[in-house]
Symmetry: C2
Subunit: 353 residues, 2 copies
């Protein structure tokens, strides 16, 4: 069966009407539209065809039609490939402007900015937003700074490129005198600075341990801490906002479903999965749309998820995801994300020279 222009128009009309109302849409509603001036019967014939093609379904006999995942997929693919979204981006200017104000405030901490960003996106889209902190797998060690804390403790501050700072308090039992600490600190920086975690290999580790002499244990503890700083799990906090927006969509208003969904959002367990793997090639404007069953997290299979990858320079990147009902306004969400991404691109590039 061919998907001719009229069928496409009708599908679009169904999707848009369903987006607004959340109710199955009937043939009469469509036939009343300006650019589809046919009788309900005609529309019905077309609808029957669309149903046969698997693009729409009726929840029950004598109900209107609702788009299927496949129908949405068609729509979304069209949306992502066309230039319309790029042109229509002025519609999303409002949130973008707000975002600029937000980002122009002094924000030493990336984390706080990301949290705020999640909030703004949730408020703008009326959907639930999740944002992962930046992901440093490809990152390199900038330097290490050791300080004695007294009480047999050492503070090891580990700084990675992209100005990622991690603190580790190491309890090594006995105090170390300042000179030894400086020597150890120098050795570590001398051997390891500028390296990625993969480049810190056994020969290097052995060398550091040798140079540390009787403090080989301490050096080892610090190396563990360095590995920890690069660690994915640890460096992937996820911020969410607008979880309660899902209450706005009656089709999700099943207490068990909502409960499961909020549980995932609160405990932040599977959100990494939901946001998908960060693409290693770092291709620009990498926007992904998961519709219904396509979402890789069980408790989100009644929703759709749109994700985008943001770049923080130096190969550091993270993900933003927007969770909404299947009938989410994909156009608006994609536009908003695109606008946000380009905003972020501009902002993150500046401070890094």
């Amino acid at each position: 069966m061919e998907l001719d222009d009229r069928k496409r128009k009708i599908l679009l009309a169904i999707i848009q009407n369903y987006q607004d109302t959340g109710e199955p849409v009937g043939s009469r509603t469509i036939s009343k539209m300006d650019d589809l001036n046919y009788s309900p019967a005609t529309i019905r014939n077309e609808m029957a065809d669309l149903e046969e093609m698997g693009l729409i379904v009726q929840p029950h006999t004598s109900a209107g039609r609702v788009p299927t995942d496949k129908g949405y997929r068609l729509y979304v693919d069209h949306l992502l490939t066309s230039d319309e979204t790029a042109l229509a981006t002025n519609g999303a200017q409002h949130p973008a402007t707000h975002m600029e104000q937000l980002l122009s405030k002094r924000m030493d901490r990336v984390e706080e900015m990301l949290m705020r960003m999640a909030q703004v996106l949730a408020a703008n889209t009326q959907y639930t937003t999740m944002v992962t902190g930046p992901h440093y797998k490809q990152n390199k060690l900038k330097f290490i700074q050791l300080s004695a804390m007294g009480g047999g403790k050492i503070l090891a501050v580990i700084v990675l490129n992209g100005n990622i700072v991690k603190n580790n308090i190491l309890d090594i039992g006995a105090d170390v005198d300042q000179e030894t600490l400086s020597r150890l600190n120098f050795s570590l920086n001398n051997n390891l600075n500028g390296l990625s975690v993969e480049e810190i290999n056994l020969p290097l580790i052995t060398k550091v341990k040798e140079e540390a002499g009787e403090y080989a244990d301490v050096a080892m503890r610090i190396l563990d801490a360095v590995a920890g700083a690069f660690d994915k799990e640890d460096s992937m906090p996820v911020y969410t906002s607008g979880a309660t927006n899902i209450f706005k969509y009656p089709e999700l208003a099943d207490n068990e479903k909502i409960s499961n969904l909020i549980d995932v959002l609160e405990e932040k367990k599977e959100l990494g999965t939901a946001l998908g793997v960060v693409s290693p090639d770092g291709s620009k404007q990498d926007i992904q749309v998961y519709i219904g069953d396509e979402v890789p997290v069980e408790s989100m299979k009644d929703c759709s998820v749109v994700t985008a990858t943001y770049q923080m320079g130096e190969g550091v990147q993270g993900k933003i995801g927007i969770i909404g009902p299947r009938r989410m306004d994909y156009q608006k969400v994609v536009e908003t994300l695109k606008a946000t991404m380009s905003q972020l691109d501009g902002i993150f590039k500046k401070p890094e020279e």
Copy 2:
């Protein structure tokens, strides 16, 4: 009207039965209990009295009775003053043991431990838990460590007593040579270490600025960062867990109420209010129970909140709160909190000598 022993027993029976079932409890149910071997009619007379005293109500005529806030208040006050809870604490040993395992793992970061603690408490009690990070108002500066980061940036690591570490990246425009930085660092530590934020007064600030010479601006920026490290808002993250437990209690199953509640929990706005002011005297086992309307947060007025203060040594303290339905098992919650508090006391005291 006198609250004699039999009335008290009946009130207790109503509270306990309502706790289990969530349904209003009738006279027949009570009369079937072993230690209240009276006819339903007798019980009804007593119930009428209890109602007159404002301790119980009927949701409507021909329904059983439900405890009022006042009824719960009586019960809870009795609970908190009696020795029963202390004796019955072995009932709460299970969670306590679990907690010990949890805390014995290496946990450099207090934050992670608090998060886990919230999770364990939520799982044990089946209620929602919130935990504030420690509160450092009375805290003192341990030391400052400055490092050059290149690109006109300085990393200022600020360490407070209690091993609280704060990172600040300061963009000062131009790079500072290592020697100047060391001198500045020495001056700061020399003048400020061991002081509380109140003790860092204008003469001291002037002195630091003088010593910094042409880098007075930078010194000022660092002092701002120090003030920020002491700042209450900043150092008060709140962790929540088990938000979805509220779905378990049908009396809260109003979508709007749930939505409001979860919103507060997710955005973590009013949770400080809900947890109440940290008592300055730091009295031991400071357990507070807010019942229904007593809760100072609007969206929690259909719930009860039990809070406890934990001590982290050196005057640093934080709060734990448990949110549940009015018919919460106060006894279990109070016991669990008491047990957790004493566990924490033990653990936090050890590492600080």
